[in-house]
Chain length 239, copies 6
């Protein structure tokens, strides 16, 4: 169902969001990392999946009594039931964490449905409980007030902004213990490949630096010696 290929998904699970932003920077994309959004449970990462989006607008009081959730077609509830397994639910909460984007029960439902993760640029309620779940979840800060206090879910799977980043449905959303990066769908395969290669090199560099080697000529590999050492290291490590 997902257009994200299994090999690309696997590669993206092994690379960091930092490495991915470098690959994106090289292609002129400077603004794909979600600002000020962090994982509730760093252990649950990595997260990889296609973006399935949910858009909130500010709540108008008369349209958002507690009874709206009785409607099975309420977009928030619908999104939770329809977000595809393997996808990541990304919510545009207008960077407003004064009320919750979602809570423990909905996130649990996403987890049991096989959804790959959930991201908001607002906050989650029941955050201590969510922090224990086996689904990666990212937000700005805990926010107990019920969603309807400040948010009205209005649209499903349209292009949104999240934490200052453009997110198109189907973009590849990758999260680790540092945060979340959005990889445009058409670049996913090539960036996954490039990032996986970079990761091998950075592992080599890290090992060298831990052994006391200077970064000059090593990182980036401007010395011929670095390149030959790396070739030998790869061979030795079988990577």
């Amino acid at each position: 169902m997902s257009k994200l290929s299994a090999p690309t998904r696997d590669k993206l699970r092994t690379v960091s969001t930092a490495t991915l932003t470098t690959c994106l920077f090289k292609r002129g994309l400077r603004n794909q990392f979600l600002q000020a959004v962090h994982p509730l449970n760093p252990q649950a990462a990595p997260m990889v999946g296609e973006a399935y989006t949910l858009r909130y607008i500010p709540a108008r009081e008369d349209l958002n009594p507690i009874t709206v959730f009785q409607d099975r077609n309420h977009p928030q509830r619908k999104a939770v039931e329809e977000c595809p397994p393997g996808a990541v639910l990304v919510i545009d909460s207008r960077q407003d964490a004064r009320a919750a984007s979602a809570g423990g029960i909905l996130v649990t439902r996403l987890m049991t449905r096989g959804v790959a993760g959930i991201v908001t640029d607002g906050g989650f309620r029941d955050s201590p409980e969510i922090a224990t779940l086996a689904i990666p979840a990212y937000h700005r800060r805990p926010s107990a007030p019920t969603n309807l206090t400040h948010h009205q879910a209005i649209d499903i799977n349209v292009p949104i902004g999240c934490a200052g980043v453009p997110v198109f449905p189907g973009d590849i959303v990758v999260g680790d213990a540092e945060g979340v990066v959005v990889v445009p769908a058409h670049l996913a395969d090539e960036i996954a490949a490039e990032a996986a290669e970079m990761t091998v090199f950075e592992d080599f560099v890290t090992e060298q630096v831990r052994q006391g080697r200077s970064i000059l000529g090593l990182y980036p590999a401007t010395d011929e010696q670095t390149r030959s050492d790396f070739t030998a290291w790869r061979k030795a490590k079988g990577r």
Copy 2:
């Protein structure tokens, strides 16, 4: 074409956004005034019209070269040509004024098309020129950088947030020298009537206060004397 009746439009032109927020507050609507948005040309107000909305998301660099405006269907350009005369174009710029929501030429085009006003929670470029136009325009602060630097127009006439306020297409948008308030469409007639009545009373109160009368018992009119004085004043003034 507009569902906004002529008498309601006329009444809304004579009342202040302050008075309207009081009417909305009485109905439990506490969040209809656009925060931190002000008129470029206070003389151009009052502004009254139905909301016609435009939604921006953050710009992705590869999707937003300068050439995108060659597309006649680019949502920003389309909105400028299709926003109905008498309506107000309201732009969701995610409260981001780092790049322009629109500039002098587009605002001039809206003016010549008979559009009633333009509002963004970002900023306009060519703001000194816009400040001289005979169309009310409201923004956060001047912003010279071209729209594409940080914005991508994505949707026309969907519900949006603007400056923290929910705006549904067709809501009545009213602006004066103080700022902009959004009146839900279904309340427009009754709120216009109530606000017009309140304005008469407030004009009476202001006159009394200027003459040295205390506000106690006068505002609100808890004294019987106030009520009879007001009745006499209305009669005398023919209001």
Copy 3:
């Protein structure tokens, strides 16, 4: 001494701040959760107690030399000695965390005096030490500078704002690992009861969802089946 009844206190210890905000929302109270304030020691929660308040204003340099603490009647020190056991000391620091609201020694004193918790919308100094104490403490962020750098304690047990929330002396302050909510005193009993009931239902829902059940019809319980299942579950669980 406390007007907070023991059964209500006990119930409030078993419910989350998230559930309480829902109960408050149903009564039209949308702004009772402290924004951007978090526990230093999530393990120490839950916190329940009546609010005892302390108000700070910005420090004027000539009035706040280090010697002011030699005065036994300095409001900060007085508050620490007089805050009743079982109460929560809530400090209005004007959301300014540039200097400490209090430090490790004062918080330790509150703990030994049996105070139920301490909350500021500024920051604590000695925060690593406070994080190890058996008293719930909530703040915005660690702040080493001595209190007098930016704060002057001015009033004890007057109504204050804390993190954007109105706090009246005697209001019930409840904290968990998510944050802090303020329950108006006159609503404490009924909200505690309602929240306790809601918690039973949410525990049922969570269990169902973990077993793979959809939230539609379940949460909220719009399906008759949900209601009968819940009745059976309660019976089985003895809750």
Copy 4:
């Protein structure tokens, strides 16, 4: 009634807030200028008077229906009627301009009562009207929503913070076209005298600089020549 002497009041009317902050800085007071607060009507300044304070806390919805203003003892209305002529009403709005601190009718009443000015660290409604009144008024930005939307007046004439500055009842509040500075009551006479002298010197310096003189040795007057020129200039000007 005022403890502010007529000569000091007169001197303070002739000096700028900039000059006053320098005098305060020399005495170790670095934080007496209200941040981000500006005059609605720069022409109405200068403002000089003793501080009479009003304190707001965040509004709790159930305590703040529109009907509260029917109470003649509502602190906001009471403050407007009781602030002494010649004093300045200073409002602690917690730097929250989302709802009005006061509006046109109340400010008009203050003006007719002979109050010297009004200051808030929030916003005024009816700001276009207030901008035409002959009473200095200072705020952060226009704010149409009625006061009760976010504020509850709670205390009169207690020490407050306003725009980050400590304000004690009786402090001398001075405003010009630049902004507002708070002079501690006990320093008013000496600072007024010093600032008046500084102003004479700065007028001399400005004249010299306009004529092309370098600031080196002139400002500050480290050259002996500057001091003798100034003496001559004062004599010639009769200042």
Copy 5:
């Protein structure tokens, strides 16, 4: 003395900062407009000159008594005396407007010395006086407190950040009634030429739009008709 050629300076005086940001955007420079900085006296613009920079760091109290200005080599005073005629003094105030970047006397001195303008990302004191001077001045907001309260001048003519923009000594700084844009020195000639051409076209477009023409096909000029009309218009206007 200036490397800015007279023809380029003249062209830059006739184009808007908005047009310049478009030229910069086409070259991949998206961040050259100073954010949230505005002219004190919009009538004084346009401003064109080479950047001469001054860098502030936060003030340490013991290093910044009022007496430091007695030192003729104090970097702030030195910068005011040494900034070349025709240059623009650009101050990095770390976007901190709590204390003044400079005041009326220094700005007057710059004016009499023939300096082309002054820009800070903080605030000026004596702002009402500066607003009357015949030198363009740009800041964030008025700020009465003396410079030393929060700033220490530390460096002259080094690369700085100002309002989020990189400024290298010698870059061309252009200001109009909208704000300030920084043109890298090596691009000044080509961008001035391109912007002047664009301005001619935009004047044509504006005239057409005022006469009722649609922007589609006109702006940008995707219709052949537009291009031939423009050619004819230029000829007729002699531009």
Copy 6:
């Protein structure tokens, strides 16, 4: 090489940043604690060393392609190789955490070179990895995007601002689990001595308070009894 004496370094390792700010406050230094900066790995503290600084300005796109790091003299790389062992690298990132100040490899290199710590008022990338290293690191929040996205390293070892604090090369930078304080170089010895003494007293006070003693008369030690108890306690403890 370091001018920081071994005894002073040792003392500073045993005192808290909170205690140090009190010592600084007593000398009129109110602004030496880095605001909103926290340790990535609280276990790695304490950090003590002389400041070695690195200054960033906003990145201009054309000057900051990924290839700039091939230059061995790039200031960021140079700083990492040249920061003296035992010193603390302090980076002025203009409080901008949208892109990384540095990443895991560079921080590892600093660690292996014996550098005492690294501080930025922006963010680090590879923050999960840095959190595991045996070198104290302090930042605002995790930030994956590569440094060049928003920063250009421009200067080494000049006076800077970091998180609102003036930092001169050679100042003593102390970090604990609470945050970072900057002690002016010339005060380091006397403040270390005073803070060490204060720490002994505070340890005594804490013990007393834990045993149930009131803070009145104890803290500060205004009771004679406190002073004699403390003398006895010191003797007993051998401190």
